[in-house]
Symmetry: C2
Subunit: 156 residues, 2 copies
């Protein structure tokens, strides 16, 4: 968990061009931005292959709580890992393709299934399913490593 899994920290702090600057975000600011959107993508390994799935999330006391709408995949994945959890990456962004401005954040950490009944109930209210009926539970990601960047206009 020491190295940056997506290489974001290997770019220099502010690389210019095309009128856009790419600025690295601090971990706190990155996590704050992630909390301003509802939609992200959980990234995991399945059958030794990289896999990704769009999901809804909320921040809760510094953890990322993800709603699992497709029961079979993630639930089975987590169940197989036992209590220790499994390392996942979580990405969220808000980038305007026309303006080419915005930000992207990647958090990496251990994911565990939410199993305490009171928490399950609370998150069921927090994470209103977009497509109900398929929701099968929640996953907690403890973000050990949070990186991100912001694209902004360069000053003239």
């Amino acid at each position: 968990m020491k190295s940056d899994p997506a290489g974001a920290t290997t770019t220099s702090p502010a690389v210019s061009m095309s009128g856009r600057l790419m600025e690295e975000l601090g971990a706190d600011e990155a996590l704050r931005l992630l909390g301003t959107v509802e939609l992200g993508r959980i990234v995991f390994t399945r059958h030794a292959l990289p896999a990704v799935r769009p999901v809804n999330h909320r921040l809760d006391a510094g953890d990322i709580i993800v709603q699992v709408q497709d029961g079979s995949t993630l639930a089975a994945l987590l169940a197989a890992q036992g209590d220790a959890g499994v390392v996942v990456a979580y990405e969220a962004d808000a980038i305007d393709q026309g303006e080419r401005l915005g930000w992207s954040v990647v958090a990496t950490g251990y994911a565990t299934a939410v199993t305490i009944p009171s928490e399950i109930e609370r998150y069921a209210h927090l994470l209103q399913p977009w497509v109900e009926g398929t929701a099968s539970g929640a996953i907690r990601i403890r973000p050990d490593l949070v990186t991100g960047f912001r694209l902004r206009e360069s000053s003239p």
Copy 2:
């Protein structure tokens, strides 16, 4: 490459609720939709951990061509894999968080670095870097498995 890495095909074709239906997309339609946007997320394994990075893409004769803006990570990854390439997943979506309508597509397949000079030049024009100077090349993903879903309003 036979199983769905993201579990999308394990959901039923049209699961209702909250006034939203989730419809599975056919592979052709999914790839077509992916071609309508510029921004996606490449998902790979780095140091045995899941990693994800937002990138720009274009479709070219059924392949997904991705611009690598951050030279070190992906280039090093691909170089280490040799000619056979490495399996990656690629996700793109267009989901309106307010309306909760839109689509998401995941393509999984082998990624190889673009090394032919004429192709490098062509893709350099096709894939205008958002933040120039950091662009270090292009990656071709042959999508062996393409899945996706569309969220649409249920008919009254």
